[in-house]
Amino acid sequence: MEGAAEVSGVLGILERLDRRWVFLAMALAVAGPILVMGLTRKTLPETPTDASRAVFRAVQSLPQGSTVLLAFDFDPGSAGELEPMGVNMARHCALRGHKMVFISLWPLGGQMIDQTIEKVIRADFPQLQDGVDFVNLGFQAGNEQVMRVVLTDFKRAFPTTKSGRATADLPILQGVQRIGDFALLASVSAGYPGSKEWVQYVVSASGGKLPMVSGCTGVQTPQLYPYFPGQISGLLGAIKGAAEYESLINAWVMDPANAAEWSGRGAASGAPMVLPPKYLEAQRRMGPQLGAHLLMVVLILLGNLVYFAQRRAQRRVAA
């Protein structure tokens, strides 16, 4: 607090407010909407940005059967933001009939991939075969140097799958010698190493031949904007980006006119298209975002009211 002048009244109470009350307000601002949305199962509408639409287009425009490299460079510490992105990227690829090769440069990333495979592929696309339509190559140590190796020899950097199968004779990797042989690089990134390093070490070195899309944390998003749309074709920023991407896929899947375009369970069996609630996770998480952001705005306003009251009190004392 500046100076000795004290503010009286409500602003004085705010000036001396214990920060635990701010913590409690934040807890309520987040828990309240979660309870309401959890009980009502409603979500807020989303208006996708160009950056999110670009991610959707990048996956959508690939010919069916393309092989996509999905780099899950995150761990449970950032799963709240990034898991919905990973889930929706895998889901979109599976719906479009793309082959998926999952890798991670974060030690706990292999587990995040397993969770995504369990949640999306094994649950909703049981016809897809491990090693043929998708594969989890797990984690490799070395950060950017792994990227340097995959530039020339992909299987050298990832000699086995996470479950211990050699990659040399893996059907899904037939025709993949180097990373440039993939149709798309989709990076889900929590920090270092992540999307920024993929741009620096791989996308630039490929001379723009390997398109890349990124889904990243809120902290990373502003830092990655300079690479979009030149070096990164599409960008999902924080949970909002995930919610926008999720809503784009949902709108596409739920439109009966598009059923022929995707290879999903519903289209194959002619069953009515019902959206499982797990594919509304990112949009549901925008509820607590709204509560918390409004609280932040109120806190900044109140903090500044206290500040200006302090200044006025100081001037009065000085006079």
Binding site: D18, R20, V30, M37, G110, Q200, S204, G218, P222, P288
Partner: protein, 340 residues
């Protein structure tokens, strides 16, 4: 964290803690309960062919318990009350409670530093160090180092279809092993000095790789991305509001990059034109930091939401957004008597 709440505040906090405890108690005693995990019994069978006698086959059988949502248990009991396929999992239920208590222990730091928080912190330090070590061994060292230097043993015991290493990779892995041992010698103060050779290799590789990547990606490509046409003609001609509006972003980006770079340029005194440009640069940077703040808030709140969802959904069973219990909100709280 030495800030102590005043006595009336302590009473309010005590009431809040008691209210939370009451909610937990009520959830345990009424309705469909809370915090239980279920598992499905799966009989596994694999065929093993002997390499010595290709014709002979034998089977290996085992049982796996796979996590399933509570609704699977409800359905299984409804179909056959005597079924044993889906059961309450003691290990996962205990794990769920431990996870919830650890979550609350970390959150307790918000009130003040306390033994519960410190215990959770000590646990995570030990667990994560070992976890990283184990992953490093099984995912990197075994397939790469052991696979190259002890291929026969590795293939026989761990990775059966690992291809034979080339001489080149065996030489490379021998160097890696030697440098790795030098690195580990840092733990022995008497001979730790030799680890500087391993450090030299790490520093040299990193520095060499960074020069190429940063110049290519962050210097040249970013400069090219800035060199966009300043005038973007729109429909209706060059001197229209639409053209002005379409051209504005590129003009602002070019001005911003140049002014910010001027601000970072400390070899010249920031006076006159340079001073003016650097002041504009500061304004751009302030906007940049404001945007970064907004996105940081967004990121942190998403992480908090996930933990609160865990407590309210997985543990307390107060909400069911993923329809894992297939009950509406009211039934979950007052109960249906079906799940237990």
């Amino acid at each position: 964290m030495s800030e102590e709440p005043r006595s009336p505040a302590i009473v309010v906090w005590a009431i809040i803690v008691l209210a939370i405890a009451a909610v937990v108690g009520l959830r345990m005693g009424f309705g469909d309960g809370m915090g239980r995990a279920y598992a499905e019994r799966v009989e596994m069978r694999a065929t093993v062919t002997s390499a010595a006698s290709p014709g002979s086959e034998r089977f290996v059988e085992w049982v796996e318990w796979r996590s399933v949502p509570p609704v699977e248990f409800t359905r299984a009991v409804r179909d056959n009350p005597a079924q044993e396929r889906v059961q309450l999992s003691i290990a996962h239920t205990a794990g769920l409670w431990i996870a919830a208590l650890l979550t609350l222990a970390i959150f307790s730091f918000l009130y003040r530093d306390n033994p519960a928080y410190r215990l959770a912190e000590a646990i995570v330090i030990g667990v994560s160090a070992a976890y990283w070590g184990v992953i490093g061994v099984w995912d990197s060292l075994v397939p790469k180092l052991c696979g190259a230097l002890a291929h026969g043993w590795t293939a026989a015991h761990i990775l059966p279809n690992l291809p034979s290493p080339t001489v080149q990779s065996q030489i490379g892995m021998s160097i890696a092993l030697a440098l790795g041992v030098l690195l580990l010698l840092r733990l022995v103060p008497a001979v730790g000095g030799v680890s500087v050779w391993a450090m030299a290799f790490i520093v040299g590789i990193t520095a060499g790789a960074k020069i190429v990547s940063h110049v290519e990606s962050d210097l040249l490509a970013q400069a090219v991305a800035t060199m966009q046409p300043l005038v973007q003609p729109a429909d209706g001609g060059l001197w229209t509001g639409a053209t002005l509006w379409a051209s504005l972003p590129n003009v602002l980006v070019v001005i911003g990059v140049l002014c910010c770079l001027t601000y970072f340029f400390f070899s010249v005194e920031h006076k006159g034109v340079i001073g003016g440009a650097s002041r504009i640069g500061i304004l751009y940077l302030m906007i940049t930091f404001g945007a970064a703040f907004g996105f940081t808030v967004m990121g942190r709140v998403a992480l908090l939401s996930q933990r609160v969802e865990f407590l309210l959904d997985d543990w307390l069973w107060l909400i069911d957004p993923l329809e894992r219990r297939l009950l509406d909100g009211v039934s979950m709280i007052v109960g249906t008597g079906g799940v237990w």
